[in-house]
């Protein structure tokens, strides 16, 4: 199977997944207590006023009709209108996608940059003191709540050392990158231990493979064996683990985005949920679902590039 038809078939597979996600999201939001229209009117509207507002928003119609309105609009990119911001949801959500994607990309790069060398050292010195120290450090990083790590990172690199900004997003691309250093580093400190553990285990596993002994018998150096033969094979399972975690981080980064006053999807979700801005919540949920699927597709493509057997499967 070639790459193009692989991508095409994976994109087709996304359709039923997205339909399923939209149904779940739609039903969940309508079952949550709290009438959005009443919240919107701050309890000051007359019953007639409320009814008029409901009619205007289409909320007086049967659920099935409402769902149809939602899904038929979503297909052409119309996710409804934000009750609170009085703006199209596609716009409200759309302007925040890029910042969050950038945050995830930078977090992943930082996490890999941290985890890869440590995992190599840990695996090569398995069960020696340095390995135990690295793994303990990883455990601590993983066990710390992200908001606490975020505050410590802010204080250290933002206030005391004054190297990086602690809030905002900037205007140009490089300003974005600059503003994203601390939030990304915070997310990476949480993500790196997961990668470290799985990469260490994968390297140790691969190092017992027959072809590693064959490589040794060929007279290759340990360094070459590790870099050229072991690491590439060890990266295959870790790529999938990274993808799963990035999907999970999409919502997990909420706290970090909030902490760094960062205009991403996560902080928008927190606000929309508090305001019962159901159109925005629906739009966000669908966006998250698409992003998770895209991240997994990218991971599969990466695995294909590493291991030719996947391409044929």
């Amino acid at each position: 199977m070639n790459v193009v038809s692989f991508i095409a078939s994976r994109l087709l597979q996304m359709v039923p997944v997205l339909i399923g996600v939209s149904i779940v999201v739609f039903l969940a939001i309508h079952m949550v207590p709290g009438d959005p229209v009443e919240l919107m009117m701050h309890g000051r509207a007359t019953p007639e006023g409320l009814a008029a507002a409901r009619a205007e928003l289409g909320l007086d119609q049967p659920l099935l009709v409402q769902y149809w309105n939602f899904i038929s609009g979503a297909v052409v990119g119309d996710l409804g209108t934000s009750i609170v911001q009085k703006a199209p949801v596609s716009e409200v959500v759309g302007e925040r996608i890029l910042p969050t994607v950038l945050l995830l990309v930078m977090s992943s790069i930082f996490a890999i940059a941290l985890a890869l060398p440590l995992a190599i050292v840990s695996a090569r010195r398995a069960d020696q003191p340095i390995d135990h120290a690295i793994r303990l450090g990883g455990m601590i990083g993983f066990a710390m709540p992200p908001f606490w790590i975020g505050i410590v990172v802010m204080l250290t690199f933002g206030i005391w050392l004054d190297w990086f900004p602690i809030s905002g997003y900037g205007r140009t691309f490089w300003a974005h990158v600059y503003h994203l250093v601390l939030p990304s580093f915070t997310v990476a400190l949480f993500l790196a231990p997961i990668l470290l553990q799985s990469l260490r285990a994968a390297i140790l596993d691969v190092m017992t493979a027959d072809y590693i002994e064959v490589a040794r018998a060929k007279g290759l150096s340990e360094r070459r064996i590790l870099v050229k033969h072991a690491l590439r094979n060890a990266l295959i399972p870790v790529t999938t683990i990274l993808a799963v975690n990035i999907g999970w981080l999409l919502s997990g980064a909420v706290v970090v985005e909030y902490l760094f006053s960062f205009p991403g999807l996560g902080s928008l979700l927190v606000r929309a949920a508090g305001q019962r801005d159901y159109a925005v919540i629906q739009g966000l949920s669908v966006t998250f679902a698409v992003l998770v699927l895209v991240v997994n597709l990218i991971a599969d493509l990466a695995c294909m590039a590493i291991d030719k057997r996947v391409a044929r499967a």
Binding site: D210, Y211, V214, A217, K218, L220, H229, N233, I236
Partner: protein
């Protein structure tokens, strides 16, 4: 008795490999498992030595210890001497050992399906050793790989050289592994059960290929196998291992006709023969000893139908019972008539 006794020819020539008093132990959590127990042997230039024995008798560990391929810890290798081509291998640094591996001594392994890296094209793996050593320009890599694959009888190598291991059958991958082993023009090839994981028909092809390449290049070969038939077909001499020791070592034609060790006799009795008719197989009773708790004297004595009280205190050094024929059995001379 043959006139051209290979053992005699070997004795006069300068040996390629001389191993003296080799012991390999695996030490872990206070437990000491002695996998190879005071082994000495000599291998001539271009000679083929078969090493036979049951699983766990130390055959594979012995071969890996020459190349220093055993993970240490837990493996601890000690020897008075492992002299190869005039160099004492234990004296060499790790870098010097790396220079020997794959060039002077190469190895063929038991399980071909795991022997190649799944994410690399086969051609690149075959030529990797030469490229890394600077003996082959990367530009000529593909050409050289095709040449090597042709030598080991892969059909249409120019079409298959860029393929990946999962696209090949076990027999073909084993040919590729052999191509990799002969690429460096080694003086010695260690073949660790090279045919065990293959179909019977493929086994013979692989064995024939090894013999053919050996005849072409004059390389010496140590062929490890638990299959006596494989060894009988291809080896000049055979060493029989049991519980980490060489029990008997002799020219091939002698060891099958006139074995001088009770264990060898037992092994020969366990082979099914078509012409045997209704003659029942005689399996050796009992189990091999625990290598962490070896009995004193002859390790085979508890299972041996010829054992006497003297066996428990037997001196296990090899004694020459006939020209070129050595046995560690203290009753070797009484065994003559049994076969």
């Amino acid at each position: 008795m043959h006139l051209s006794d290979p053992a005699k020819a070997v004795a006069t020539a300068v040996p390629l490999l001389e191993v003296e008093d080799l012991v390999v132990e695996f030490r872990q959590r206070g437990r000491v498992v002695r996998a190879v127990n005071h082994v000495s042997l000599t291998l001539g230039q271009g000679e083929t030595l078969g090493i036979v024995g049951e699983s766990g008798s130390g055959k594979s560990v012995l071969c890996r210890s020459f190349l220093r391929l055993l993970p240490s810890p837990p493996a601890v290798v000690t020897a008075s001497r492992i002299s190869f081509n005039g160099q004492n291998l234990p004296d060499l640094t790790e870098d010097q050992m790396q220079a020997i591996r794959g060039t002077d001594i190469s190895m063929v392994f038991q399980n071909p399906m795991g022997a190649l890296n799944p994410v690399w094209p086969i051609g690149d793996q075959i030529t990797e050793g030469e490229v890394v050593r600077g003996r082959l320009a990367p530009a000529n890599r593909r050409k050289r790989a095709i040449e090597l694959l042709t030598r080991v009888g892969i059909p249409a190598p120019e079409l298959r050289v860029d393929e990946y291991p999962h696209q090949w059958s076990g027999g073909m991958v084993q040919r590729a592994v052999i191509a990799m082993a002969v690429a460096g023009a080694p003086k010695l090839i260690l073949a660790d059960e090279p045919t065990t994981a293959l179909d019977v028909t493929i086994q013979n092809q692989i064995l024939a290929l090894l013999m053919e390449l050996q005849a072409e290049t004059g390389t010496a070969l140590i062929l490890v196998s638990h299959d006596l038939a494989v060894v009988a077909e291809s080896c000049d001499r055979v060493a029989v291992m049991y519980a980490g020791r060489i029990m008997e070592i002799a020219p091939t034609d002698r060891i099958f006709v006139a074995p001088k060790h009770a264990y060898t006799l037992g092994l020969l009795g366990s082979i099914p023969r078509i012409e045997g008719g209704d003659q029942a197989l005689e399996p050796i009773p009992g189990q091999p000893p625990n290598l962490a708790d070896l009995p004193p004297g002859c390790p085979f004595a508890p299972r041996c139908r010829f054992a006497s009280s003297a066996c428990a205190g037997a001196d296990m050094t090899l004694r020459e019972v006939a020209p070129g024929h050595f046995s560690a059995c203290i009753r070797a001379n009484e065994l003559g008539g049994v076969a």
